[in-house]
Amino acid sequence: MRKKLLAASLAVSLGLGLVSQASAAEKMILYTSMKESLIGAIYEKFKVKHPDVTIDYQSAGAGKLMAKIATERQAGKVLADVLWTSEVPDFYNLKKEGMLETYVPAQFGEVINPFPDHDGSFTAARLGTLGIVYNTQLVKKAPAEWDDVLKPEFNGAYGIANPALSGTAYMSISLLVKQFGWEYIEKLAANKAKIGKGSGQVVDDTASGELAGCIGVDYITIDKIKKGAKLAYVFPKEILIAPSPVAIIKGTPNLSAAKKFVDFLLTKEAQEVIASEGTLSVRNDVKVAPELPIASAEEAVKRSIKVDYKSLEDEKQTTIKKFTDILQGKK
């Protein structure tokens, strides 16, 4: 069975020419939900430092990647060596099922760690932030508080990505509920807030004017602002942070390559690439992108709404259902 699958996958990769050309001493496969451009840039730097390691990376939505891992598990062999997404609950799940190798990265002492129960199963390699994105042509006065999106300018035109599709959207809803209670979601519903599709689409809909504002992921928004979209990005006092953990899959034959990659991810070099995309680095010695309305990662963590990440995983289904019902007026 295992042989067959290996043969099949080999045939696929050969047939479709997806195997990297260079034959290096070490090889590893990375599944990540990071954008192609981000992971591509990090890999370029990684190659300089570790010319002997080849990384075959697959970039897709976290849901797709988990589905792939699930089928690979059924077939008896997980092809991924390293997983790096923004779905924290997935990592708690995998850890519970004993799927993750414990490894404390070499540079762990130098980075910000948002997980109080960190044991090396997974380590935050990036601190995603979520703020309010608004269309500067439709909204004249910048919102400063989470309550400001309850104003008439946002009536029927404030979007939140579908938490069933987007992990960061789920995270942002949980955090808002934790801080302001379900009443806040009900007030949003009263102001006819909308559930959008993915976390990218709500930002694009805001840029086009279909929405006046939305909860936006930092790097998606910054990217569009850099390209000239009529958008602005603000952080209210309470910041929403969604860490992106990286983990090594247990039993990988490429453990040493995997460790090299995880170590590299926490270095200043790799973190600078992350910061330049408009997301917070986990290192304090890396400068924050000028477009991001915050001074330092440390300050963002200080202002962030704290949450017990483990409970996120347990409450996922009920929170999503309650949120969807309230916004769709079903209750």
């Binding site: 699958l5 589905a67 089928t71 035109a157 599709k197 694009d204 086009s208």
Partner: protein, 571 residues
């Protein structure tokens, strides 16, 4: 196998019989593995529960859940609306280009067939850009420039979905009715006229009854297509809670994240789809069976043309406006949005560039993979299906062997199994349950494509084979050729045009395929359709549009080359 080898020239009756059996078995085998097993598994999964008991109550329960019930209802509403609308539009334009003195008829006819080539989900994307309530360019024009208070049309609605589907599906009726009107014997109408009947009576008593079978069969094709259509509803409906059967199946598979929990709802819905489709196909065969001998009166005649007189120019303008509105405008919007740095900027010269096109063609691994995957998948599926199709058609049309009945029944299956059902079926069949796990690989998409496009190949090849008279093969056999020799030297050369037609009929549509591949893709096995769809879902609207533009160019260039090629071969 070489023709000069001494043994092959001897008449060997028994080897011919053996070959027939081998071909028959092989044909049945292919259809069983590729189509019958997946469909059977869907039915098994839907109607039999975990204890292997027949459980109708559970099926009813699934169907009566509000979500499923609503999806069923939506599928029917959208399909009916689309069918009625497309039939009206298609029949009207067909009549206009065949029976009136409308100027530039030939050009018009060609233009009305263009929507055939355009994938409707790309159309849906374009219309989303044009008519989304607050940001759509048309709505904005009315609100910003003409001072309207409210958007004139909300594309995220049943009406919007139906409108878009009509625009891209009406050619099914148009082409059928055009054919019927062109081939209809005009003496029938003329004799009625000579006998003193007015235009109204002639239309009512002669023309409409003669054309009706074609209209109905086109309408049923549209119904079948729309019921099982994923793209338009996925782009315009999901966000506002409008699901139909295929989009709900997709959501269920998507949410189940590879664990097969909600697959049951999917299989029940798929069963409904298969049964409906079978019913529609059955109806269509009945109607066509009745109508065929009336319509095909031999050669094409030059029918009488109705003088439009004063309406000639207004109708011309109407047709041009329709073409401009449904073909030129959406295509232009796709290319223009694809040239913007980010969505929402105005179309000024300094904003437009080829940056996105360059990016998706050369720099972006996702889209480059997608193009490569679609082209190789299309080539492979077209080649395999072409050869399998010619073999199976040969058995059905030409051979007299026992057990052919089974094959005839199996041969009908591909026609009535919609794409989303095939996708679900191959997931059930090829995800390790029977020892082979192809899920999340490119091979599962290939298997699904073969199943999906087998119908095209069977149709084209049987049509070609029907024209090869049995006497040719018999003559060859009488002269001492073996079965294989007769096949190779007589039959194959004669059916080659049919095989070529099958190849292109499969290759081009597979380039823009979405319904099947969206359910089967893995991170590295995106197809062009999937890439466009996921980029749009990710909020990369401009890149999605650029990719759609590239796809349109690929499709149009491909189609033009094929038209050239086939025109040359006909001569």
């Amino acid at each position: 196998m070489s023709p000069t080898s001494p043994t092959s020239s001897a008449i060997k009756k028994d080897s011919g019989f053996g070959a027939a059996q081998i071909i028959l078995t092989l044909s049945i085998g292919i259809l069983v593995v590729v189509v019958a097993v997946p469909v059977l598994l869907i039915f098994l999964n839907a109607f039999w529960d975990n204890n292997n008991d027949f459980n109708l109550a559970a099926v009813v329960k699934v169907l009566s859940e509000p979500d499923t019930y609503q999806a069923l209802l939506n599928s029917i509403i959208i399909a009916c609306g689309t069918t009625l609308g497309s039939t009206a539009v298609g029949t009207f334009f067909a009549w206009l280009v065949t029976r009136t003195d409308l100027p530039y008829k030939k050009f018009m006819k060609g233009m009305f067939l263009v929507p055939f080539m355009l994938p409707s989900f790309i159309g849906a994307l374009a219309w989303k850009m044009l008519l989304s309530p607050r940001a759509g360019y048309i709505n904005r024009f009315f609100m910003d420039t003409l001072g309207f208070d409210n958007p004139i049309f909300n594309i995220y609605s049943y009406a919007g979905i139906v409108m878009v589907e009509i625009m891209y599906l009406f050619p099914f009726v148009f082409i059928q009715v055009c054919g019927a009107l062109e081939h209809m014997d005009p003496t029938l109408e003329e004799s009625a006229r000579i006998s003193g009947a007015g235009l109204g009576t002639i239309t009512r008593k002669i023309t409409i009854p003669l054309v009706l079978p074609s209209i109905l069969s086109g309408a049923l094709l549209i119904m079948l297509y729309s019921m099982a259509h994923f793209g338009t509803v996925a782009v315009l409906g999901i966000e506002n809670g409008i699901f139909n059967i295929p989009t709900l199946i997709y959501e269920k598979i998507h949410q189940s994240a590879g664990s097969f929990e909600s697959i049951r709802t999917g299989t029940v819905l798929a069963s409904v789809l298969v049964i409906t489709a079978a019913f529609i196909i059955w109806m269509q065969n009945k109607i066509l069976g009745k109508g065929r001998y009336q319509i095909i009166a031999g050669k094409s005649f030059r029918p009488m043309e109705l003088k439009l007189r004063g309406l000639r120019i207004p109708l011309l303008i109407f047709c041009l406006a329709y073409i401009g509105f449904t073909i030129v405008l959406p295509t232009a919007v796709i290319f223009l949005v694809g040239a913007l740095p980010t969505y929402g900027l105005p179309f000024t010269l300094e904003n437009l560039s080829l940056e996105n096109y360059k990016f998706i063609l050369f720099d972006f691994k996702v889209t480059r993979d997608a193009i490569f995957n679609s082209v190789t998948l299309g080539l492979a599926a077209a080649l395999i299906t072409m050869f399998a199709g010619v073999m199976i058609s040969y058995v059905i049309v030409k051979m007299k062997v026992r057990g052919k009945g089974i094959l005839e029944f199996l041969g009908m299956l591909p026609f009535s199994v919609p794409g989303s059902v095939i996708a679900l079926g191959v997931i059930l069949a090829w995800s390790g349950k029977f020892g082979i796990n192809l899920y999340n690989t490119v091979w599962i998409i290939l298997v699904a494509y073969i199943a999906r496009y087998m119908a095209f190949s069977l149709k084209a090849n049987s049509a070609a084979l029907e024209q090869v008279h049995d006497s040719l093969v018999e003559a060859a056999r009488a002269c001492g050729a073996t079965m294989w020799q007769a096949l190779r030297d007589i039959v194959l050369p004669l059916v080659r045009p049919g095989m070529l037609a099958a190849f292109f009929l499969i290759f081009l549509p597979s380039l823009r395929e979405l319904t099947v591949s969206i359910m089967l893709y893995a991170p590295t096995t995106r197809t062009i359709g999937v890439a466009i769809y996921t980029l749009n879902e990710d909020g990369e609207t401009v890149r999605s549009a650029a990719m759609a533009g590239v796809a349109l160019i690929l499709i149009i260039v491909g189609q033009t080359l094929i038209n050239r090629f086939t025109a040359k071969h006909k001569r």
